[in-house]
């Protein structure tokens, strides 16, 4: 596994954990009306530890001469970025349609909810990016020669 794959795998785990924790905290506070201060601290510590462990794993070299990134990595990252961009566009469009159906054309939402929606979409976009990198490494058939 090269560094790009390691980065993608670690960030996928990191963002998945973050998204799950955010959903759990929000569910506890908004739906069940529970005070979850200590659990929030615990979750933040877990996220931080996951991040540090992932960073150590990514930065550890397989061999002293290991190449960090090459032309195939760049091509895969570019495709993954495009997939991530498309996912953001689709998510935003879906969100607008859903909100307009629920609230009506003249309805409005709080600023905090809009911020939360954008935050969740950005986490989801990062997950799509990481997943796309891993999928393209496993199943991708690239043709750099035909690209130019």
């Amino acid at each position: 596994m090269n560094r790009t794959q390691k980065e993608a795998m670690c960030s996928l785990i990191f963002f998945t954990v973050t998204l799950v924790f955010v959903v759990l905290i929000l569910a506890a506070r908004l739906i069940f009306k529970k005070d979850v201060v200590y659990i929030t601290y615990f979750m933040l510590a877990t996220i931080a530890i996951t991040n540090v462990l992932g960073l150590l794993y990514v930065l550890r070299k397989q061999s002293p001469r290991e190449v960090i990134t090459d032309e195939r990595d760049k091509l895969i990252k570019l495709k993954a970025l495009f997939a991530s961009f498309v996912s953001v566009m689709i998510s935003l469009a879906m969100m607008l349609v859903i909100l307009s159906i629920i609230l009506g054309i003249g309805g409005s939402i709080g600023v905090w909810l809009l911020t939360l929606i954008l935050f969740v979409i950005s986490i989801a976009a990062s997950m799509v990016y990481s997943a796309a990198v891993l999928i393209l490494y496993l199943f991708g058939k690239d043709n750099a020669g035909e690209r130019t």
């Binding site: 090459d70 032309e71 195939r72 020669g145």
Partner: protein
């Protein structure tokens, strides 16, 4: 519509050049081992500069390493 396919002899040339490992070749041409694996399996067609670097490592011409053919 005919499909253009690029085949290569990288794997054979590695073994003919002192059982060179994929990692050795990758280090010599400046790419990751995964890229060499993808090239050998035909999953990735390298750029022209990389193709020349691979050919140079084997002391061969680019046509001896990479073959371009048409198939249906």
């Amino acid at each position: 519509m005919p499909e253009n396919e690029l085949s290569n002899s990288v794997r054979r040339l590695r073994f003919e050049n002192g059982q060179m490992t994929q990692q050795d070749l990758a280090d010599k041409v400046g790419v990751t081992r995964q890229t060499i694996i993808a090239v050998e399996q035909g999953k990735y067609s390298p750029s022209l500069p990389l193709a020349f670097r691979i050919a140079k490592v084997f002391g061969a011409t680019i046509e001896q390493v990479f073959q371009y053919g048409e198939s249906k």
